[in-house]
């Protein structure tokens, strides 16, 4: 199931935005989950939070520090700053800003964002915008799932010892990428299996060397 997350410092606002998205999703017969949360204490905490909650699309407010949330500390970063940090860490995650802020050079020039939607525009044409969110999130999930499938098959090759150098390079590339976006059981188990397999291989190697030494 895909998850859309809404981050806004104003509780009523984020819950209403999430409510409207949920309603539209329901009308589109999609059983997706929408979560609404206050800004996180640190801008660096987002990528882990996104992985932990399996989030496939992030909706941000631009001004995040007007209201102090449950943490008791006002946020000092803005929505587009979150987007910039995440674009580095999770390059493919779709991100949108819904805001009342007008005429901001930083927002206009923010290449990190997939869309900047004025709040009034979102209210008026919520269906159009939610459909767009669905397209972006689906593309993101599909790409991730394809990579996950490839990861499983490549890992199998490694275990079967049929993987060549290209396979291993590709596996490492996907692991590097997926490690940050998906922290599913598969990866943890695979990593354990691989570690164990490497340990067994090393032990066998040592036994082989011992045998060779004795044979001489």
């Amino acid at each position: 199931m895909s998850v859309i997350a809404v981050v806004d410092d104003r509780k009523n606002m984020r819950e209403s935005v999430a409510g409207l998205i949920e309603l539209e999703l329901e009308d589109m017969n999609l059983q997706w989950k929408v979560i609404a949360d206050e800004p996180l204490a640190s801008i660096d905490a987002y990528s882990a939070w996104i992985a932990d909650n399996d989030i496939s699309l992030l909706v941000l407010d631009e001004k995040l520090g007007d209201e102090i949330g449950a943490s008791g500390v006002a946020t000092t970063y803005t929505g587009h700053e979150v987007a910039a940090v995440l674009r580095e860490q999770l390059p493919e995650l779709p991100q949108l800003i819904i805001t009342s802020v007008k005429n901001s050079d930083e927002l206009e020039g923010a290449a990190e964002l997939d869309a900047i939607v004025q709040r009034d525009e979102f209210n008026k044409h919520s269906r159009v915008h939610v459909e767009r969110m669905v397209r972006l999130a689906t593309r993101f999930v599909d790409r991730n799932e394809a990579e996950l499938a490839e990861l499983t098959s490549l890992s199998q090759k490694v275990v079967d010892q049929t993987a060549n150098a290209d396979d291993i390079a590709r596996l490492n590339a996907i692991r590097e990428k997926v490690q940050m976006t998906v922290k599913g059981e598969e990866i943890v188990v695979l990593r354990q299996v691989l570690t164990e397999a490497e340990a067994v291989r090393d032990r066998l190697q040592r036994v082989l060397e011992l045998l060779k030494a004795k044979a001489q």
């Binding site: 104003r10 009523n12 606002m13 819950e15 209403s16 935005v17 409510g19 409207l20 309603l23 009308d27 520090g65 007007d66 209201e67 102090i68 008791g72 500390v73 006002a74 000092t76 803005t78 674009r87 390059p91 493919e92 009342s100 802020v101 901001s104 050079d105 930083e106 206009e108 020039g109 290449a111 990190e112 964002l113 997939d114 869309a115 709040r119 009034d120 209210n123 919520s126």
Partner: protein, 744 residues
Amino acid sequence: MRKTATPIVVGGGSVVTGKRAFKVDARALLSLGRESIKDHTTALVELIKNAYDADADHVEVDVIDEDDLIRIADDGEGMNSEDINSKWLRIGFSEKRTRRVSHKGRRETGEKGIGRLSADRLGAQLRLQSQKLDEPAVGVFVNWNEFDVEGKEIGAVPVAEIPSPRPNLPAKSARKKGTEIIIGQLRQEWTASDIKTLETELSTLVPPDVAKTDFAIWLRTERGGEYRRISSSFEEGAELEFRGSFDSKGQLMYEISERPAAAGQKRRTIKHGKIPWAQHVPTQSDKPYSLGRFSVVLSFFLRQGVSLAGFSLGQLKEYLDTYGGVRIYRDNVRVKPYGDPNHSEGDWLGLSERRVKNPAGAGRKDYRIAANQLVGAVYIGRDLNPALADSAAREGLVHGDAYSAFHAAVFGCVVLLETTYHQRFVEKKGPDAPESKIDLPVVVGEIKTEIAEVTKNLAKVDTEDMRVASTRLLTESVAKLEAVAKKVAIAGREIHELANQATVYRGLATVGIAAAVFGHETESALAQAKLSTGLAFAAIDREVPKIPLSKNELIKARDAVERVQVWGQFALARVKKDKRRRTRVDVSELVSRLVEDMAPLFEASTIVLNRRIQRDILIRGFAMDFEALLVNLLTNAYHAAKLAKRNRQVLVSLNVGGKGDSRSLRLSVADSGPGITREHLSQIWTPLFSTRVDDRGRPSGTGLGLTIVRSIADDMQGAVIALPKGDLGGATVEVSVPYKGGES
């Protein structure tokens, strides 16, 4: 939107490498050079920039219109035959793109590799001769018009070799290397005004400090005339000079020096110090400092009443009209348009506007420096200050958070300079004489009493000794005095009326100031109301209505509308007519109610608004004045508390202190914001002074709030004090007014 590098699949998925390739038409060269450069001044400056990048110390520029030629000679690194072929004649080639810093450590200015094509904008023919140290000289001749042919390939146009080249290098330089460019068949006439523009451009091409010591430009505009050096020789005439640098944590270290009394003496440091970032720019105190190190030099000049050695006042004014403004240099190269006198963003600190609004003299605390009195440079670096990025859409820097902080930091330096000049001025000449303050209604009352007494005495004389005194004279005197008394009474009423008007104006201005601050809050409440009503409707208007969701959203919409309503009622209530009359005001009741009215506006930004109010404090005055006092103090406190990351609090206190006749009503507002910088403390009461900036770093406060507070306190014979760090950690402002106890 970010683009991913997805390759295009061709046909069956494979690409066949063929024999096709791009070819370049000779005319392309003209569109890169002649047609892409704005004007001939810009074209010439481009060529001189190349000399700077080539590490030249001297550049000679001849613009001789009568000879139809332009000559640019530098003592830079020079080129050999291979350089000419592989670099100079290769369009689009630029070492600067990869090297970035010249051998001499200069941050290079151009990197597109087409600067040399600007020669085509200047004239049809180009002779280039160059000499590298200990290598044979080389020379080429280009006739740009030969490229102006349809269908000819660029490589097919020959570039002629100059036999036995001998570049004529700058006379001031002892170096045996450099480049000389001579451009002939000029495309445009060079008028006196063009030359003036060129001089201005050149003199601001490199910062004054560098121009004096490192890179000299010599200009000659008449055949056989003398070269004159483009420089900023007026710098020593600065009345005050500010030199400051911000370290990696934003702490400002500064020094202000003064022009010596006699020529030849050294400048004297009159003030220096360190100011932490949060104090220098309180509006940015909630954000971590991210600008990096940079420095600011501001030279402040007097345009009149000053005698300077070596040049006249007229020359100084001309210099200031040319150089006035605060320019930004990145790696020692101008970032346009900051400081450009004719550009809309040239006066980026808004100095002219401030000065026009408030032309007060230097004896006044609210003295403002004019833009044409200040020559300044702010030195930033591409590597030192990566947050100050170039805007892709227009000239200048991206206007975002970093720019706001940067703007506020530099603006703070100007304020420091202003304050220092005012202080020096007062020390030397004494402050402007304070206007004598009298309570006009009281004085009028006294006059009336005196007149009544005289009238009574005269009347007594009239009855007791009618025969002795002259009846006619006495009657006339009485009549005259009565007429005077009537006039005085009318004047008294007028004065009351004026006081009433002042009260109304202050009240209206206060509502305006508060509207600017609370406007954002109202806007966001309206946005919430719109969203929630829309959602409530959508939740019901479906096959299976979602009643709880709809109800919940309607409650949210109602609350949001109430918040807007609170603000609307609040604004209207402030200007009601009955508050404009001088009556007995229950200040305790008034303050309590106002705090209750404003609390929701504060709550919306998670600010706790507390009060400590002594009951039954009654005083004679205008209710509107008391409200204006409190609303202005609360508006400031709201803004300050919002800058706090946690524990946003504001406390309103009202009590009566002192004993007997010296009792006073005290109204104070404390906040948990960043407090007031000591440097700003003496300025906060002056009209139009504000440290508040908007999202784009422009001054946004009206600077009227505390001025109104002080004006009301003055009218009530009261006093105002501000504590930079009060009970809640931020500022506390207290107004005290004489209190006689339950005044009727």
